[in-house]
C-alpha cells in the first residue's frame, strides 16, 4: 500500500512539493468560518424579551467569549500568514501539523459556547474556563510545532529569511504557551480573572504580530535573541 505512494513521490520529483497557495486558501477558509460561526451561539432567551436591554446586558459572558475567540483566531491567522509568506513550499510534516492545527482552531467555538453557558453557574464556570484554556494551549503548542517544522528545514523557506528572523519568531511564539499555562492554572482559583486573561493574551498577540516594515534602508544588523 505504501509502495505505490512512494514511487509516485519519486516520479513527480520535478513538480516541487506542496504548493502553499491552496493550503493558505483552505486555512483561511477554516479560520474565517470558525471566526464567523461564533456569533451563532449568542442568544437572548425568550424569557428576557420583556426587558430586552437587561437581557442584552446579561449576555456579557457571550460577548467576552466572542471577543476572546475572535481575537485569538484573528491573531493565529495573522501569525499563520507570517509563517506562510516565508515558505517556498510546504512538506508533508507541515501539511499534517497544519491540518491538526486547523482541527484545534475549528474546535474553539465549542469551549467558547461552554464558557458563555457556564459562567452563570459557579460550579461549572471553573471547568469551562480551564477547558477553554486547554484548547488555547493546544492551539498555541501546535502553532509552535508548525513553525518548528518549518525552521528545521531551511530548504522550505524563502532564501532571504535570516537566521535571526527564524529564531525570533520561535521566541515570540513561546511566551504565548507560557501565558496560557499560567492563565489556565489561574483558572483553578479564579476563573473570572483567567477568562479576562485569555482576552488580554489575544489582544497582546494581535498587537505584537508585525508586518514587514521597511522603516530602515540601512544594512540590517544580525542580532541574536537571548
Amino acid at each position: 500500500m505504501l509502495l505505490p505512494t512512494r514511487r509516485l513521490s519519486i516520479e513527480s520529483a520535478r513538480r516541487g512539493r506542496w504548493d502553499t497557495a491552496r493550503v493558505e486558501a483552505f486555512s483561511d477558509g477554516v479560520f474565517a468560518i470558525a471566526i464567523t460561526l461564533l456569533v451563532l451561539d449568542i442568544h437572548v432567551p425568550p424569557s428576557e424579551f420583556d426587558n430586552l436591554w437587561h437581557g442584552i446586558v446579561r449576555e456579557w459572558p457571550s460577548y467576552l467569549g466572542y471577543a476572546t475567540s475572535f481575537l485569538t483566531i484573528g491573531g493565529i491567522w495573522l501569525a499563520h500568514h507570517g509563517v506562510f509568506r516565508r515558505l517556498r513550499y510546504a512538506d508533508n510534516a507541515v501539511m499534517r501539523i497544519n491540518l491538526v492545527l486547523l482541527m484545534a482552531v475549528a474546535f474553539l467555538p465549542y469551549p467558547t459556547r461552554l464558557i458563555a453557558e457556564a459562567i452563570r453557574n459557579s460550579d461549572a464556570e471553573r471547568a469551562a474556563v480551564i477547558f477553554y484554556g486547554l484548547n488555547l494551549l493546544v492551539i498555541s503548542t501546535l502553532f509552535s510545532a508548525l513553525w518548528g517544522a518549518v525552521a528545521r528545514d531551511r530548504k522550505l523557506l524563502e532564501p532571504d529569511v535570516t537566521e535571526g528572523e527564524l529564531r525570533s519568531i520561535l521566541v515570540a511564539s513561546s511566551p504565548n504557551i507560557a501565558f496560557y499555562v499560567v492563565a489556565t492554572v489561574l483558572a483553578i482559583v479564579a476563573p473570572h480573572v483567567a477568562a479576562v486573561g485569555y482576552l488580554l493574551i489575544a489582544i497582546v498577540a494581535v498587537v505584537r504580530v508585525q508586518g514587514d516594515e521597511p522603516t530602515t534602508d540601512a544594512p540590517v544588523p544580525r542580532v541574536e535573541p537571548e
Copy 2:
C-alpha cells in the same frame, strides 16, 4: 517579548509590509459567511404549519432583517473592495482596524436575530432596533477609521490615487455615520420607521458605491470636495 518582534521587522525590511491579497481573501470569507448565515435564523414555528402561507407571511420581520443585513454587509464589501484595490500594501494599523471591523460585521447576525424575534413584542422592539442601529454605527465608524488609516499614509496607496479621490471617499463614508445616528435616535420614538430606515440606508449605500468608470478619456480635472 517585544524586542525580538521589533528586531524581526527590521530584518525582514526588504519584504514589503502586509500583502493585501490574503487580507482580502480572509475578509471576503468573513463577509460571505456572515451574509450567508443570516438565513439560519429564519424559521416558521411548527404551530404555524396548519396555515403555512399565513406563517410564511408572518415572518416578514425576518425578511426585513435578512434584506437589511445582507445589503448592509454587501455594501460594506463593495466599499471594502474599493479601499483595498487602491492599496499597495497594508500596515499594522490597517490590519488591526480591519480585524476589528470584521469582528463587528460578523456580530451583525445577532442583533438581526433579535429584531426578528422582538418586533412582535412591542416592549422589546425598541431595544432591538436601537441595538441593531448601534451595531451599524460601530461598523460604519470602523470603516471610516479604516479609510482614515489608509489616507493618513500616502505610501500605502497606489501611486495613481489622487488627493481628490482620497478625500471624496472619506466624504462619501461620513454621511453613513450621520444617517445611522439619525436612524438610531429615531428608533427611540418610532422603531418600525427606523427599521425601514436601515434598509433604505443599505440600499442607498449599495447604489452609491461606484466602480471606476472610464467614461472620459479627457484629462481629469482635480475637484476639491466641499
Copy 3:
C-alpha cells in the same frame, strides 16, 4: 452626497471598472456556504432513535430537498462561472444584480427547510413547494437579468466572445424560467410531482452547462440560434 462619488469615478478613470476576480471569489464563497449549510437542517428527531433505520428513511423529504437545492445552486455556480470567465470587467449594474442574485441564492436554505418540515403535513406541503418554486423562479430570473446586463454592453465582454455565443447563453437560460413557472403551477395540484420536477430541472441544468470544448480546430461557423 452623490457629487463626490461621481467625481471619484471620473478621477479614477484609468483604473478599469470592477475587477472580476474578487467578485468571483466572494460569489463562490456565498455559493459554497449556502450549499454546505443545507445539511444543518437534516435531523432525525430523538423519538426515532429506537428504530433509527426507520427514522433515517423517514427523513427522505430532507434528502430530496438537500439534493435539489445542492444541485440547483451547483448549476447556478457552473453557469455563473460561464458568465464571469467571459467578462473583462463588471460594471455597476452587473455588481448590483449579482449581489441581489446572491441574496436570493443564500435565501434558498429557508424554503428547503420548509419543504422538509411540511411534506408530512398535507395542508402545508402545497404552500411549501410553491414557495420553494417561487424562490427558484426569482433566482432564475435574476440570473437571466445578470446575463442580460452583460450582453447589453459588448465592452464588458472579452473580445473573442461571439454574437452567437451571447445569444445562445440567453436562450439557454430562458427555458429554466419557463420550467420553473410550469413546475410551480403544477405544485398547486400535485406538490409531490412538482418537488421531483425541481430536482429534475436541477439535474438537467447541471448536465446542460458545458465548458469550452476544443473539439474542432476547424474555423468556427457562426450559427444564429432560432
Copy 4:
C-alpha cells in the same frame, strides 16, 4: 434546447475547457465549511452543567465523530489537491463528478451527528455507524471515479504526469474503498470497533498522501505497479 449549448461549445473552442482555478476555490470552500460546521453539533446538555467535567467527558462520541470526519475530509482535501494540481483543465465529466463528490462530502456532518447522538443508545448505534460508513464508502467511490475520469483522458493532464503516477494514484485510492467496505460490514457485529476503524482509516489516509518530494535528482525509473 441542447442545440444552442452545443453550438456555444464549438464557438468558444479557443477558450480551453473548464479552468481549474475556480473549481479548486469552490471545492476548497465546501471542504473548509463542511469541516468547520462539525463543531456546531457538539453540545453538553444543560442537565450536565452541575458536574461539567463529567459532562465534557461524556461527550466523547462527539469528539470521536469530530476527529474522524475532520480527518476524513482533510484527507480528501489533500488527495483532491493532488488530483487537481496534475490537471491542465477539467472536462464536463470531471466537473459533474466533482459536484456530486462535494455533495457527498457536505452531507457527512449529518451521519456524524447521528453517531454522536446514537452511540449511547445501543439499539441505534449500529444503524448510525453503518450509515456513516456508507457515506464514507460513497465519498471514497466518487473520489476514485473522479480520478478515473481524469485518467481516461490524457489530454486533461499536465504533460509531465507519467503513466506510473496515474496508475499508482488509482491503486492508492482503491484500498480505501476496500477498507470502508470491511469497516462497514464490521459495524454490523461491532459498531464501536468500526467507529474507531473509520478514525484509523482517516489517519492512515492523511499520512499516506504525499506531496511531490524532490528527494532524487537522478533520472526517474518508470515503475509499473502490480
